[in-house]
């Protein structure tokens, strides 16, 4: 079948629906904007349809609530909540990093600690609240402790996994250059695992945020979680929405900052091949 002389051959293009097929960046950002805008539009329309603001507050009401909240100490709530999450996460990291490193490096340590950690991991942090109140009290330490319980055990296992992924050839190369075991840990395993560890810290920070509301169940009188809980009691659904959105936004911001830090910290990883 010969092509008609009047038409020029069209360049063939694989369908955008083909598996793993790339798409133009304009299309990607267009679709991403739609993906974010669509729920907003659905929310707007649904709120119009349902007159009851308790069941579903409109975006306008939520925005108004944020504005009111701003004048009523929103930044203070944001600050105290951020402090609790970050401190809980940081204390987790303080213990999880060395412990995970040891578990990932020495099999005896892994045998001793990993099954226990695996088991505790499944215990719900919420259930620890009464215990924490008895053991730690009801001040800031108690909130931080809840966040720690929710974050630490997952973190240890992820750190151990990151450490185990260091290629054996890198370790053996150092050994055949005369490195002692501590030198291998310090000069090969840790630098090699650092990018994965930073990623683990970023992901676990996200999880730590999800424990905020649980933590602020423990006799809090400030914070985003506390505000959500109080709003729940008074059926102020718009404030609940506002609180949840604020937590989400802060989490997103921190996540993006940590991604940026990753790109800056490891130029060798992001270097063009």
């Amino acid at each position: 079948m010969s092509p008609s002389p009047s038409s020029s051959p069209r360049p063939s293009r694989r369908s955008w629906l083909a598996i793993r097929q790339g798409i133009p960046s304009g299309l990607y950002w267009g679709l991403a904007a739609c993906g974010l805008a669509l729920p907003l539009v659905v929310w707007l329309l649904a709120a119009e349809g349902h007159a009851d603001p308790v069941f579903l507050p409109s975006p306008a009401r939520v925005a108004e609530r944020v504005h009111l909240w701003w004048d009523d100490g929103l930044m203070g709530d944001v600050g105290i909540s951020t402090m609790r999450v970050v401190v809980g996460w940081a204390v987790s990291a303080l213990f999880a990093l060395p412990l995970g490193l040891m578990i990932g490096t020495w099999r005896p340590v892994q045998a001793l600690l990993e099954p226990l950690t695996d088991f505790i991991r499944y215990m719900p942090a919420v259930a620890f609240i009464p215990l924490v109140m008895v053991w730690v009290g009801i001040d800031e330490a108690a909130k931080v402790a809840i966040i720690f319980i929710g974050t630490f055990f997952q973190m240890v296992l992820m750190v151990a996994e990151d450490v185990r992924r260091v290629p054996m050839a890198q370790i053996e190369a150092a050994q055949t250059m005369g490195a002692t075991p501590m030198e291998v840990v310090e000069k090969v395993i840790v630098p090699s695992a650092k990018p994965a560890l930073l990623d683990t810290l970023r992901v676990t920070m996200g999880w730590a945020w999800t424990y905020l509301v649980v933590a602020e169940l423990v006799a809090a009188n400030s914070g985003l979680g506390y505000a959500i809980l109080k709003a729940q009691r008074f059926l102020q659904t718009d404030k609940i929405f506002a609180g949840i959105l604020m937590i989400g936004l802060i989490g997103l911001l921190i996540d993006q900052l940590m991604r940026l830090a990753h790109r800056k910290a490891f130029p060798w990883l992001h270097a063009r091949h």
């Binding site: 290629p167 050839a169 890198q170 053996e172 190369a173 150092a174 050994q175 055949t176 250059m177 005369g178 490195a179 002692t180 030198e183 000069k187 090969v188 630098p191 090699s192 650092k194 490891f266 060798w268 990883l269 270097a271 063009r272 091949h273």
Partner: protein, 299 residues
């Protein structure tokens, strides 16, 4: 050390090449059906370039790693320069097939890596410190890496990465250099270049090289002697002295002595590989090809 001295030549204080002695070496992995190494007896002369070759599972990598001290052995004795091997050490540097370079360090930093280890700083004098910088530069030049000294390994091709790995291993002037199929992942042209490069290195550096490969051409081209190993159980089948002059050139790969030894080794590998199913398949295919040719059976 005088500034006019060749920085790649061994320093007076450094060790010269060492020999390796294995006697009745045995090793079985727990749960394995056959020993990985059985009654291995081998003497490697100082400054020799010896190659282990054989089919997969013959124990050549296991033997190399045992000499490196990365694997333990169950019976027999193993000494390097008269000293028993109890673990890895800076006297036996090793080049791996891949993934051994440190991606967070530049080429230059990778090569100089050993200098930050205790084992190397123990008896450092100011002369050694000066020597180190000169040695690193000399190795960069020797390996043709000067133009990428500040690049990261991920920016380099496979061949260049292996050159960095070799330079890094040579930095401390090891008396023994162990190479585990270092060119296996490289394309044919790059491999040819690496062959001549490693020969050049062997001539300049006084080091015993133990080289593992599955490629018979490579084994004959590079080695003073070729140790043919066989699997199940892993053992030395035969040791062959390569009948070629010390300085090898690419055209020797077509010389009758080369081809004769190659044929001998390949036949021996086939006989000892125990790959009956592969040979049966070949026989069956040639029978059916003959049938098709004679018109007896359609394909």
């Amino acid at each position: 050390m005088s500034p006019t001295a060749n920085p790649t030549a061994p320093s007076q204080a450094g060790a010269s090449a060492l020999g390796i002695q294995c006697t009745q070496l045995c090793k079985t992995y727990p749960g394995a059906k056959a020993p990985a190494l059985q009654d291995v007896n081998l003497t490697v002369q100082p400054n020799e370039f010896i190659v282990f070759v054989g089919a997969s599972g013959c124990g050549k990598s296991t033997l190399l790693r045992t000499i490196a001290g990365l694997e333990a052995f169950d019976q027999g004795t193993l000494t390097v320069g008269g000293q028993p091997v109890t673990g890895p050490g800076l006297d036996r540097a090793m080049v791996f097939q891949h993934y051994s370079l440190y991606p967070w360090l530049t080429v230059q930093e990778n090569i100089k890596f050993c200098r930050q280890l205790q084992a190397h700083t123990a008896e450092r004098t100011s002369a050694d410190v000066e020597d180190a910088a000169g040695r690193a530069d000399a190795l960069l030049r020797l390996m043709g890496l000067t133009h990428v000294a500040k690049a990261y390994p991920s920016e380099l091709s496979g061949g260049m990465q292996q050159r960095v790995a070799i330079a890094r291993a040579l930095m401390s002037r090891p008396p023994v250099l162990l190479m585990d199929e270092p060119f296996g992942a490289l394309d044919a042209q790059t491999r040819e270049v690496m062959h001549d490069l490693i020969q050049h290195v062997h001539r300049l550096e006084r080091t015993t090289i133990v080289f593992v490969t599955h490629d018979v051409d490579e084994a004959i081209y590079l080695g003073d002697r070729v140790v043919l190993m066989a699997p199940r159980p892993g053992r030395i089948d035969s040791v062959h002295t390569v009948p070629l002059p010390e300085h090898r050139t690419q055209d020797m790969k077509l010389a009758p002595e080369f081809l004769r030894l190659k044929r001998q080794l390949l036949d021996r590998i086939r006989d000892t590989s125990g790959m009956k199913t592969d040979l049966d398949l070949l026989a069956q295919l040639s029978r059916s090809a003959a049938d098709v040719a004679s018109g007896a059976t359609p394909l």
